[in-house]
Subunit: 529 residues, 2 copies
């Protein structure tokens, strides 16, 4: 399959139906989008973008983001959807590593353009998706001018094993990694998820409030493209905007991370919101606290809930918890069962499958598994073994194939739907002159799911405040990665090999709700400040 | 994807759930099936079946057919599901051409085994799927003995572009053609059809009364395997058996060709049948007469109807008419809209896309399109052009992408769900010493959809009866291909190039309900006897 096929089919099925709607009320039909996509692809060609070149999008969700995601493969190029929450150092790193030649940027992020142009040698063109012509800068190419000037070109029809995009994630070893996903990788995940049959229809309207640069939001968008749904774009998540969009556009489907659901339910406007059009809510991106799931089920009794578990490297979906599963008290504690497009096993360290109920690493195989990490053959080889993607997550399967995720080998924190790799934060902390050792772990949090917590061993005789360390971190990494809390200790629990035993550290803080039939021995007493 | 992946997933999700049920009441769980499939694959290895070898199944629908369809790819081999309605000459041709080494045959068709063994040089082993050990013949290998003797082997995990099966269809030029379909071809069609979301669920039970050797029945089976449904097998279609199976096993989904629906509705037992468990009926295989569709909709007001249009070469699904479409008076006259996994166009003879409402040939592209015809590179090249499969059907798309099929370039008749190519029947007729020319066309029929009708020009001065020609045909082709009626004429309408103008001939007989905005000029007067 190839992504732009979905646009051709939409034009055939419903040429004059509204395909995109923005929060500001701009609507475009499938015919109009196809026309604009052809011209935008022509514009990219006129800028020298060729087959296999990488084009970045640094933008809040919008109908133009939608056009760009279609026009880039239409032009034969590779999508690089930039995480807008990253700081400029991180963004510059990803643009440079992916040799991005052209970047599309909206009004919110256009201020970053000059510095990115100067820092990234590969970056030659910045196209400004401006809402107001007066904001045009001299260095920048106006998006609408580009469309108007360029002739429409034929669809390059990239597809199958061709790379669709490079999707950056935080790295376990510090540096971000570009996950290379083919058209088949992403479309297999989307088609398989749709085949479960619980969300996204041709007659429906989907709300994109989760960012499109995350593969969760992106995969929901591709699935909606396959289904032929109408798309409503919110530039940022805010409860009032969500309520208004659902009511105004009769939204039927929405992807929300647990934190977003919490914020919606906590909003003083929830009670009066007109949400009767909603048919399904897809949630993913972090563990769903049981109390929050109870609230969501009570608040949306007529809405089908589907949980997806996966990761960028999996296109992203591996398992699904169906609306029917949500009515089963045991099943709803799980991450669901394997999706129809893929295979999942629990394996021991030697790679052998373990029995039902036994803990092991979650591995996944199928056409949805990534091609590899960009320019990182060793990291790729470390996680891909005979087609099996080693997720780094620890879990078990019950007798009916429900997956319970109990821990993360990769030591990742998920806060408000964003992945934070502890190693990356620890690397920044230990570069601070006062810090001798650091260990970064998740603390459970009622709103964000988890927050970033740092346990620090200082250099002898020095003192430093939480605020000073936070300021230091902000200079190096995105603010969502900066520890929200600190403890200062004299020693960290170390293994025989001299590595920090994170599991032990976490048990000192957490009454971990995710631990299943594990046999981790609890230790007594809380270390630290 | 690969077909046996669906079995692994079923074992993980519901190891002890009933996976197969026969009309006689035999039930097997997913665990049992997986165990038996591993042993059957081991048994095939013990017979010398290797990677890429072809294994035929000549059998009515049964749980053993189900096991064979999984065990053959599990063993690394290619499936050849034999049309049980063919005569022995046709079967021998297909076994020989596909170099089938091993054939599985049930009690109904075991009597054909000795002659097939003597006529087909490639055929070395016949495995008898006998229900009663006493029926074992000396030349034959008993199915249960084979399973019991062989150790279970690991899944060969054939998939992706590997050939899943060779599916024989009647040939436009006379000889049958083996359609080579890869795992991705068939599974893409099934996954895409499931993604439309109207039928087959993990909680559901599907009735297989349409034969598994047709790609319609086979594709419904693979889709049900992906969905994780439970399977009920009927060896033959009979209304009482269908009613009993639906009631006894709480069947939720069924694939039925229009002729089957007609027979069910006409049955004196329909009124008392307990069909309340049915949720969806999928129909395909021939045009659905409007009056019959009216009756079906009235008879099953709470059942979602889905029509599929396609062909063996398309894995098989190209378009789907959804339950919602059935409520639209205009849409329900069509064959539905393009399925999410593929692309469809209407083109002129030069291959250029025509406008909405204009007639042209229906062409389809996507991962569902066949690899090609076995050992027929010219026939393959004649229908595959830059990935587009030329269906030979003539139709048009309306403004909302609904496909209306109005004629068949390939001059095919569909009678009771079976395809009959006119050329094949004409070839047999003109070999009769008394026949000078023949033209075979479809006549509309209330029960069979269409019947085979022959218009004959005899040699000068000879006479021959309908019965004599029917007997002659039966000696060469399957009985469903034999003309049901004849007309004897002095001349056939010929084109300037000397070819019979079938369209003109059909108009003499038919008040064709499928002709849409066509502009075929009607001629006056009925030729013939």
């Amino acid at each position: 399959m190839y992504l732009t096929q979905t646009l051709h089919n939409s034009v055939q099925r419903s040429p004059n139906a509204v395909m995109t709607t923005t929060a500001a009320g701009r609507r475009r039909t499938a015919n109009q989008i196809a026309d604009r996509v052809g011209h935008l692809a022509g514009g990219l060609h006129s800028l020298g973008v060729g087959t296999g070149d990488t084009v970045a999008v640094l933008s809040a969700n919008s109908d133009r983001y939608h056009e760009a995601l279609l026009a880039i493969p239409w032009a034969g190029a590779v999508i690089n959807p930039v995480n807008t929450r990253w700081n400029i150092t991180e963004i510059a790193y990803s643009l440079t590593e992916s040799t991005t030649s052209t970047m599309l940027v909206d009004d919110t992020f256009v201020t970053l353009a000059p510095e990115l142009l100067s820092r990234c040698g590969s970056l030659r063109n910045v196209v400004h998706m401006s809402e107001s012509p007066s904001a045009r800068g001299s260095e920048l190419i106006d998006y609408e001018d580009l469309l108007a000037a360029a002739p429409a070109v034929d669809d390059a029809r990239r597809g199958g094993d061709d790379i669709l995009g490079v999707f950056y994630t935080g790295g376990t070893t510090g540096a971000p990694k570009g996950v290379l996903l083919s058209h088949d990788n992403v479309l297999t995940s989307s088609l398989g998820s749709l085949a479960s049959g619980h969300f996204l229809t041709q007659e429906g309207t989907v709300l994109h409030s989760a960012p499109l640069f995350h593969l969760g939001g992106f995969g929901c968008w591709t699935a909606a493209m396959i289904a032929g749904s109408s798309h409503v774009f919110l530039p940022a998540f805010a409860p009032e905007a969500v309520f208004e969009a659902i009511a105004a556009h009769q939204v039927t489907d929405a992807l929300l991370v647990p934190t977003m659901l919490q914020i919606l339910l906590d909003s003083p406007h929830f009670a009066e919101a007109r949400l009767g059009s909603l048919r399904s809510i897809l949630y993913s991106g972090s563990p769903m606290p049981r109390a929050l799931l109870d609230r969501v089920q009570r608040a949306f009794p007529d809405v089908g809930l589907t949980q997806a578990y996966g990761m960028t490297e999996l296109g992203p979906v591996a398992t699904l918890l169906s609306p029917r599963d949500h009515a089963d008290p045991a099943a709803r504690e799980s991450a669901g069962r394997v999706a129809p497009h893929t295979e999942l096993r629990i394996v021991d360290p030697a790679g052998h499958e373990v029995g039902h109920g036994d803990l092991g690493e979650i591995v996944v195989r199928g056409d949805n598994v990534m091609v590899g990490y960009l320019d990182k053959p060793e990291e790729t080889a470390a996680v891909l073994d005979e087609g099996w993607m080693h997720t780094g997550d620890i879990g078990y399967l019950d007798d009916n194939g429900y997956l319970f995720v109990v821990d993360r080998l990769k030591d990742m924190i998920i806060t408000g739907g964003e992945n934070v790799y502890s190693a990356e934060v620890e690397n920044v902390l230990t570069q601070h002159p006062s810090v001798s050792q650091s260990a970064v772990i998740a603390l459970p949090h009622p709103k964000w799911g988890e927050t970033v917590h740092a346990v620090i061993v200082l250099e002898p005789g020095v003192k430093v405040t939480d605020q000073a360390l936070q300021t230091w971190c902000r200079g190096h990494i995105a603010s969502y990665k900066v520890p929200r809390s600190f403890d200062f200790v004299t020693t960290l629990p170390l293994s025989a090999a001299g590595k920090v035993v994170k599991a032990q550290l976490r048990h000192l803080y957490n009454d971990d709700p995710h631990v299943g039939p594990s046999s981790i021995t609890p230790t007594s007493g809380k270390q630290g400040a």
